[in-house]
């Protein structure tokens, strides 16, 4: 076998180098390197692939990250994304001049913005939309003026609405595409209780809605939520806002701190029902985008670290073994006057070549993946131009990181070359050192066969090598566990959020809070089985120096539909006094049950009160606060009023319910739980499947890389021993079993270790991905554990079987004739 491979690799080497007797040529040691690399191509490629996987994730994540950052900044800058946003009930237009006087403010944009319920052709259930006024007064042309304003829109197709045409709107591209609309289509919207027909004349995107998501959702639902831009004049008329505004955006001078501006703006807007302004970092779309960038950074750093650590480890064991096998050759080279450094450099080059091949492969695959990821992102993030360009800087860093990790792995092995004494290496190695110990007692006690005892003795004789191999394989199990973890976690979130906690079919929100009696209308809708009404009020919660804007939801105590659950999934009763906070909100405010928080109501009479926190609810999205409804009424000094309701609907008659709701004047928004569920599952199906395939592929690369190299090393070490067994009469299958047995033991040992490492990595992922918008629960299903173990075992067995084939070709006499 060796003869043939040496001959075939000679040709390729000779093609690259001239004869040793003539002219300039490759140094002889380098020829040795090239020939040995060719000889061990499969094992070297296995390591290079692990490196490539690490570099690929690094290049993919970090180049996409850089690209997203640049694209976002350019978009925000060019289309003048505002720095501060505020909503209010209604303020006269001249207040804008007061706002413009706030120190540091460079521009002010007032608008009329309102949530509406819409009916989309081809969609049974009602959808919701946000109407946003476009700059342009009664006498202005919208077209001419839009270039000066903040949050400018980018027209993708069609035209801008005429300022005097009440029925013309532009819709967001995501909504337009998801509903397969065409220009000229009409949509019915319930604007301030009046049903209006709106004609789509254009399609646009805006830096404000790069990520188009309804507040409270944790994944976008483009079919059921859209943005509609229309003329200011039209919206002023529709919402009784003539000469007034209910939304304002501010652009600040460069370098101006946001906080003082927000405080001053809140003071100005307070008399006008301002519900608290916020900076760009709290703007929903901007925050989702920021979170994604943060997560990409985490991915781009954590995942490559795992792969490169595994490859460094592999290079270490493979080189250490190579050096051990070539002890005599090294001694000979030293005898002829090669210095330790020259020989060490020769072996180091082995690692460098593999690292460089891995880096080149990884850069190519990473760039290809980045293109794919950007395509995926383009479904969620809407940018005017989104064409990925590879980043030479990131690729360069990828190469540096890969070569460095490869060298670190190699240096420890290669340092043995320096220590190897030539005379010592010339002497035959002392026989492997074995002692009687606890294993013998164990083997006797368990009645183990001599072959099994032999395997165990080999494993325990070199505990560090065994431990390192175990860790190598364990990483494969761990990566598999992490790659399937997202699916488990999201399934758990869906189950928790939509099945266990929130059991309503619909959530209906009113334009304004109404008298409780008016809410009875919901109960009377034909097809509605149960209604739980709620009161929602925007607030700012303060605890010591920390504060957070959120909504307090006042809930009835007798609830079956909208439930709050504790960490163990048990329902929480909302006591008559006190607040229940979501776990994330409690963490942000650094508050625990028994402590007080200050509630500042951000509407109407703007009451302030100190309320104790009584319980913490477990939630995976948002930062919500809850109160007993009568207690909230008392705090607001109001009679019973209702902001909306959770509805349970007879599934056979849901269409009738949808139809009625779409014509109910007070309805501002309807969120359909099952539709959300379906949208989430669809998004996950589409995207997760691809990501998971890659992850499983990467994990298999690690498993195969580690086990294949281990198997080859074991084979090299045991060749003589196994041949001896064959000579004395063991069958092929008996000897194979002995060889595979060792690999299987290590693999079995590695699996629980891999589960533990995987748990740690899942924990790190949860920490890295946690944001105010949503959290991933640390859930690892039994299915995931079994799958990770199964794939690891299969990869291990496959690698073992490939290497085992060389047992069949073993030339017994040759092996025994050669020196061990």
């Amino acid at each position: 076998m060796r003869k043939n491979s040496a001959r075939s690799s000679q040709r390729s080497v000779d093609a690259a180098a001239t004869s040793p007797t003539t002219g300039r040529r490759l140094p002889t040691l380098d020829r040795k390197l090239v020939r040995e690399l060719c000889d061990s191509a499969a094992a070297s490629l296995a390591i290079a692939t692990v490196i490539a996987a690490g570099v690929a994730v690094f290049v993919m994540a970090l180049s996409t990250l850089g690209f997203l950052n640049e694209t976002r900044d350019a978009y925000y800058d060019r289309y003048r994304m505002a720095d501060v946003f505020a909503s209010l009930s209604r303020a006269p237009e001249h207040i804008a001049e007061d706002i413009a006087q706030i120190p540091g403010v460079a521009g002010v944009e007032t608008r009329v913005v309102s949530e509406v319920t819409i009916r989309v052709p081809g969609l049974d259930e009602p959808a919701s939309g946000r109407m946003v006024s476009l700059r342009g007064g009664a006498t202005d042309s919208v077209q001419a003026d839009r270039r000066r304003g903040l949050n400018a829109i980018h027209l993708v197709t069609g035209r801008l609405p005429r300022w005097d045409a009440a029925d013309e709107v532009i819709t967001s591209e995501a909504f337009f595409e998801a509903n397969r609309l065409t220009l000229g289509d009409t949509i019915d919207g319930l604007l301030n209780g009046r049903l209006q027909r709106m004609r789509i004349v254009g399609v646009a995107m805006s830096p404000e809605y790069v990520f188009q998501i309804r507040s409270g959702d944790f994944l976008p639902d483009d079919r059921r939520f859209g943005i509609f831009w229309t003329s200011r004049q039209h919206l002023e008329a529709a919402f009784d806002m003539q000469g007034a505004f209910n939304d304002v955006s501010l652009r600040l001078l460069r370098g101006v701190a946001t906080r003082p501006v927000i405080e001053r703006l809140d003071q100005i807007l307070e008399p006008f029902g301002g519900i608290g302004s916020y900076g760009r970092s709290d703007q929903l779309s901007a925050r989702f985008l920021d979170d994604e960038i943060k997560q990409l950074r985490a991915t781009g750093l954590i995942v490559p670290l795992i792969f490169l650590a595994v490859s460094a480890f592999l290079l270490n064991i493979v080189l250490a073994r190579r050096i051990e096998l070539q002890r005599e050759a090294i001694a000979t080279l030293k005898a002829f006057g090669y210095s330790g450094g020259e020989i060490a450099w020769h072996y180091l080059k082995f690692a460098l070549v593999i690292s460089i091949v891995g880096a080149v492969l990884g850069a190519a695959v990473g760039t290809w993946l980045a293109v794919g990821l950007c395509e995926l992102y383009s479904q969620f993030f809407r940018f005017p131009t989104f064409e990925f360009r590879p980043s030479p800087k990131v690729i360069g860093w990828g190469a540096v990181v890969s070569v460095t990790s490869g060298s670190v792995g190699a240096v420890f092995a290669v340092s043995r070359v320096l220590r190897l004494h030539p005379a010592e290496a010339m002497r035959p190695a002392a026989p492997a050192h074995y002692r009687h110990g606890w294993l013998d007692a164990l083997a006797r006690g368990l009645g183990l066969t001599p072959t099994l005892t032999m395997t165990l003795r080999r494993l325990t004789r070199r505990p560090i090598t065994t431990a390192l191999s175990t860790f190598g394989i364990a990483f494969a199990t761990a990566v598999l566990l992490v790659s399937n973890f997202a699916v488990d976690a999201i399934e758990f979130m869906i189950e928790f959020q939509f099945v266990t906690a929130q059991r309503q079919d619909l959530r209906v929100g009113f334009q304004h809070a109404v008298a409780a009696s008016a809410a009875d209308e919901l109960q009377n809708i034909d097809g509605v089985v149960a209604v739980e009404t709620f009161r929602a009020i925007p607030v700012r919660l303060r605890h010591s120096h920390l504060d957070h804007r959120t909504t307090i939801l006042g809930l009835d105590n007798q609830r079956r539909l909208y439930r709050l659950l504790d960490r163990d999934g048990r329902p929480i009763r909302v006591p008559p006094n006190g607040l229940v906070l979501s776990d994330k909100l409690a963490e942000l405010l650094e508050v625990s049950p028994g402590q007080d928080v200050t509630v500042e109501v951000l509407e109407e009479r703007r009451q302030r009160a100190t309320v104790p926190v009584v319980a913490i609810a477990s939630e995976f999205s948002g930062t919500n606060a809850y109160m007993d409804r009568p207690a909230l009424h008392r705090l607001l000094q109001e009679d019973r009023r209702v902001s909306g309701g959770f509805l349970q609907v007879d599934s056979a008659r849901k269409q009738a319910v949808y139809d009625t709701l779409q014509e109910t004047p007070r309805t501002a928004a309807v969120t359909i739980q099952t539709a959300s569920l379906e949208a989430i599952r669809k998004t996950i199906r589409e995207n997760q499947a691809m990501m998971q395939a890659f992850n499983v592929g990467f994990a298999c690369v690690i498993a195969l890389g580690v086990v294949y190299n281990m198997a080859r090393i074991t084979m090299a070490e045991r060749e003589r021993e196994l041949a001896t067994l064959r000579v004395i009469g063991f069958t092929r299958s008996e000897v194979s079993l002995m060889f595979l047995g060792e690999l299987m033991w290590v693999t079995l040992l590695a699996i629980p270790v891999g589960w533990s490492i995987g748990w740690g990595l899942c924990y790190a992922t949860v920490q890295a991905f946690e944001s105010e918008l949503y959290r991933i629960p640390l859930v690892i299903s039994r299915r995931n554990l079994i799958l990770a173990a199964g794939v690891t075992l299969a990869a291990s067995l496959a690698s073992g079987l490939v290497v085992r084939r060389s047992l069949d070709r073993l030339d017994l006499v040759e092996v025994l004739k050669n020196q061990g």
Binding site: K32, A329, F336, P422, A423, M426
Partner: protein, 239 residues
């Protein structure tokens, strides 16, 4: 390094070497005194464990003694650093081993080139292979050569840099009589034609007849030191 005819090539005094092997300590040399003259063909005899390989390794700068001194011309090898020993081996010493120690992934010519790469003052790989009668097998891999041919490649590799001393450790140990004689002829011819000081260690007493001087080691000491009045040709040997 300068050479002086008046001085012996090697001057060894009180040489002692002990080293651990597994769990035991081996006392390989127990106080050896020896002078080796320029151009001499010396054969060292002795049974296994007599210390001859250890002595050869020490003379070749592969190892350092536990005690005693070795002078190579006007240099004290026992006081030399590892870097100096490397330089000494690189420039002045040629080694031939019992098991040839060829690199299996390099051809015959490339194995020789390993040495000429770092010590270019010598011959070309083909010239060296021609000297041992193997120029036609220059492109063969070690696995394609017989044992005797492999050993002759090893000799070519050792002499390609025209070393000052040629140290051969059991060069015929793994070979049959006929092949072994061929290898000894190659070594002898190098000694005669290039004047290389040659030390061959062997446990085969018959080989002593081709040398100027025969030293016998036993238990780490020199038991006998004889000079041959005439050297036999390797062809005349039999064992």
């Amino acid at each position: 390094m300068s050479t002086s005819l008046a001085e012996p090539v090697f001057r060894v005094r009180g040489l002692t070497k002990a080293y651990p092997l597994g769990e035991v300590t081996v006392h390989a040399l127990r106080g050896v005194d020896l002078d080796v003259r320029e151009g001499d063909f010396t054969v060292m005899l002795g049974p296994s464990g007599s210390g001859k390989s250890t002595l050869l390794n020490l003379l070749g700068g592969l190892d350092l003694p536990s005690d005693g001194t070795i002078r190579y011309r006007d240099h004290d090898l026992t006081a030399a650093s590892q870097a100096e020993l490397t330089l000494y081996r690189r420039r002045w010493v040629g080694f031939v081993f019992q098991f040839y120690n060829l690199i299996p992934s390099l051809t015959a010519a490339e194995n020789v080139a390993l040495v000429t790469d770092i010590c270019p003052a010598g011959m070309t790989p083909i010239e060296a292979l021609t000297m041992v009668g193997l120029s036609d097998r220059a492109d063969s891999f070690p696995s394609q050569l017989s044992g005797g041919q492999q050993q002759r490649v090893a000799i070519a590799r050792a002499i390609a840099k025209r070393p000052d001393v040629l140290l051969c450790d059991e060069p015929t140990g793994a070979l049959d009589v006929h092949t072994g004689i061929g290898v000894l002829e190659a070594i002898e011819s190098v000694n005669r034609s290039l004047g290389t000081t040659t030390i061959v260690i062997t446990h085969n007493a018959a080989i002593g007849a081709i040398a100027d001087r025969v030293i016998t080691l036993r238990d780490g000491r020199i038991a006998e030191d004889l000079a041959n009045a005439t050297r036999q040709s390797p062809r005349e040997l039999s064992w």
